[in-house]
């Protein structure tokens, strides 16, 4: 019955609802992801009641899921840092393969399990540093720089291994994958520790704050006196370190080092981060979101496996999920205005200009 008074400009309040709730947005998203996980389990319960409604079989199945998720999760944590800083790291899978192969050569294994682990971490970190140098000091676009190292690292891994699978004969390495601590698989514990450390680094240190600043507005960060190049270098080195950690995990799971390890990890890690709410444009993202993203992704794969669906369907589903997650993110970033809204002054500079391409001609 009452008419809205026409004096106030109507557009401003309507638009402001897009960031009014921003502070709680990551939390709402994470609650949503937990909901998605529950739905996936319910789907499991309907499709394979024999597994999902039997306590011990269910537990066994979920341990498998978590073991798989652990290595991807460690890589995704590193990827989250890279993406929050506004970059991307396509080389993660290849770096993982390189680290696993390097650390499992006969020579390295001869020095014992400690050397295997240390060399995997060092190789991963150094390879990540190469990425960082190319991007920070060579001023290469992250996409291209890591695309190049992706191919090169995979090739180097093949060269070192002679394309052969390098069996690990060190029992202490092989046992990592099957050991439990207090009933929790060791690999999962490693994943959770890495995620917890990353959470602290992102949320409780100046390094994390500067990472967000660089991704949100690199020019502002530079003019505030932040050494962007050094920071970028460290971020890619950290991503490489995560690949090294994951390499040990994968090696232990498969009892072997191989140049085929980490296949499509870059895709899964990026997908997990996007599902978890990390912006492709940088400046926002959460560790918890990425962890949940990995769990969602792995649980979906698991549903396909336990229902005996072919791998092809699984790949198709993964593609669809990634597209869906990106679309959701773009929808949130794009203001609901028509026309060429992605101009220089008004609110959102980060969102891919969906509206623009729609009216571009």
């Amino acid at each position: 019955m009452t008419q809205i008074v026409q004096t106030a400009p109507p557009a401003a309040p309507a638009r402001s609802r897009y960031w009014r709730d921003d502070a709680s947005e990551p939390i709402r998203r994470n609650v949503g992801l937990v909901g998605v996980l529950l739905i996936l389990l319910i789907i499991g319960a309907f499709s394979r009641a024999d597994i999902f409604l039997d306590f011990s079989r269910f537990t066994n199945n979920e341990v498998i899921v978590l073991r798989q998720a652990a290595s991807i999760g460690v890589v995704a944590v590193g990827m989250t840092f890279v993406m929050i800083s506004g970059g991307i790291d396509l080389s993660v899978g290849a770096l993982l393969a390189l680290a696993s192969v390097w650390s499992t050569t006969q020579a390295t294994q001869g020095y014992g399990p400690g050397m295997v682990i240390v060399s995997a971490l060092v190789v991963g970190t150094l390879a990540g540093t190469v990425n960082g140098i190319l991007i920070a000091y060579g001023r290469m676009v992250p996409f291209i720089a890591t695309l190049a190292t992706m191919v090169a690292a995979r090739g180097l891994a093949q060269k070192i291994s002679g394309k052969l699978t390098q069996i690990v004969h060190l029992n202490s390495i092989n046992r990592l994958a099957v050991r439990d601590v207090a009933g929790i698989p060791l690999l999962v514990i490693i994943f959770l520790v890495v995620a917890a450390l990353a959470w602290i680094l992102l949320n409780r240190t100046t390094f994390g704050r500067q990472t967000v600043a660089i991704g949100g507005n690199s020019e502002a960060a530079r003019l505030a006196g932040i050494n962007i190049r050094r920071h970028t270098l460290i971020i890619y080195a950290l991503s490489g370190l995560c690949c090294g950690i994951a390499a040990v995990m994968v090696t232990s799971l498969s009892n072997a080092g191989s140049s085929t390890h980490g296949d499509l990890y870059e895709l899964q890690a990026i997908a997990a981060a996007i599902i978890g709410g990390t912006s492709l444009a940088g400046g926002r993202g959460t560790i918890v979101g990425s962890v949940l993203g990995v769990l969602v992704f792995t649980q979906i794969s698991n549903l396909f496996v336990v229902n005996n669906l072919q791998l092809e369907y699984q790949l198709i589903a993964q593609g669809v999920i990634i597209v869906g997650a990106v679309l959701v993110q773009q929808f949130r970033l794009t203001t609901p205005r028509r026309g060429r809204s992605a101009s220089s002054d008004p609110p959102h500079q980060s969102g891919p200009p969906l509206a623009e391409s729609a009216t571009g001609t």
């Binding site: 400009p9 557009a11 100046t206 704050r209 967000v212 502002a220 006196g225 932040i226």
Partner: protein, 510 residues
Amino acid sequence: MSTPFLELSGVVKTFPGVRALDGVDLDIVPGEVHCLLGQNGAGKSTLIKILSGAHQPDEGTLRLRGQEITFANPLAAMKAGIATIYQELDLVDDLSVAENIFLGHEPRRLGFVQRGDLRRRSATIMRRLGHPDIPVTRSVGKLATAAKQVVSMGRALSHEAQLIIMDEPSAVLAHDEVANLFRLIRDLTADGIAVLYISHRLDEIREIGDRVTVLKDGRTAATDLPARTTPHRDLVRRMTGRTIEYLIPPRERPLDEAAAPVLTVTNLTRYGEFEDVSLTVRSGEILGIAGLVGSGRSEVLETIYGARVAASGTVDVAGTAVKTVGSAVRAGVGLAPEERKSQALLLDEPIWRNVTLAALRHYSRLGFSNAGAETAAARDVTANLALHPADVRRRARTLSGGNQQKVVLARWLVGRDSTLKLLLLDEPTRGVDVGARTELYGLIRRLAERGVAVLLVSSEVPEVLGLADRVVVMREGRIVHEAPAADLDEDAVLDLVMAGSITAEPPAIG
């Protein structure tokens, strides 16, 4: 005078935190060249976007030949006969001239493009534009910029545009090409087509324009000025000048003439931007740099800050050589850059994080940050600046321009009350409303009286004269004059800014 082709009245466009247009009136009659003048940020680009249908006004009306109209999208504006030629010329390089001219409305039959028809009609248009020399089958990427501009005009004609908006068309042209552009514009207007011509170059406006409208702070500051007879000085004054609608507080304590220089710049040079710039600023002194866009003033500021690398020359802040941003910040230098949003703020981050960004070291131990201490410090410093609303957890995006500027200033005050030595301010009041301006002026004054050296760049002459103790005038990358602010007046500075010398005679009568 004939009825206007297009008439705007009271057009308002608001974006979050900024009122980009705040009451624009404009009428364009057939066959005229209507010039639109205004500084960066005056609202020209927003106005163009409204005229071309890319934005819709929040308030106000558009009338097309007397009929009220709204453009839902760019296509609607195009159909109404309004074509826009953007500075970056939105042509498709890999398509031919003819394909570009008819892009989106190619002559076709049964879905197939009538290639012969396309070529013939394009050739006709190019002949009409006096350029049969541009082959319509050539791909646009191979054409020179001037020729591309002609193609853009061809596209406008293919839509049978009655109004062509040209956004700084001469900016991309060499001198002799501008003459050709003007000949084209005259041909078009002779046929009754109106042109809205946007340019900074006053000489061009005098040569090609019929009437001038000046935009300032999103409002029509003046309209219906005769382009040929209005003196340059009047135009510049209307763009930059202000009536006394705000107060610049006077200095309370006299400047300590004996104070040691905080900033010493010697022969600073970046070829193509500025050359041989030397200046000093003492503790507690405000040095103003006056100059037009392109005079090199912002570049000088950023080079002093270490954000640009000098080709030669030195910057010394209280005995420390500054070469990088890091060394500048450590030496106690702060910068409030020209483009607040893109150069200074993390718009989606809360205010307190914006405030402490450059002082994280002060509020951390062993690399671990202390959000509580940061928030408290941000709250203190912003309360001193009368930030409104006074909630440091709000996102920077939600603040008005003036309050965003306060956040930027707070960044250099927080945790370094005693160590801030030099503040570099680039257009500190751009996009800031009148009330907040007064506050910012008071704030800058207080900082100076506390002993901070201030280097102020502004294109608003009264601001420079009112705030600064000493003024340096820059023109085409060089310092052309330096004098105490008390010895200069607005006219003298305007002459220096435009011509490099003070003319003795009074301005011509328009």
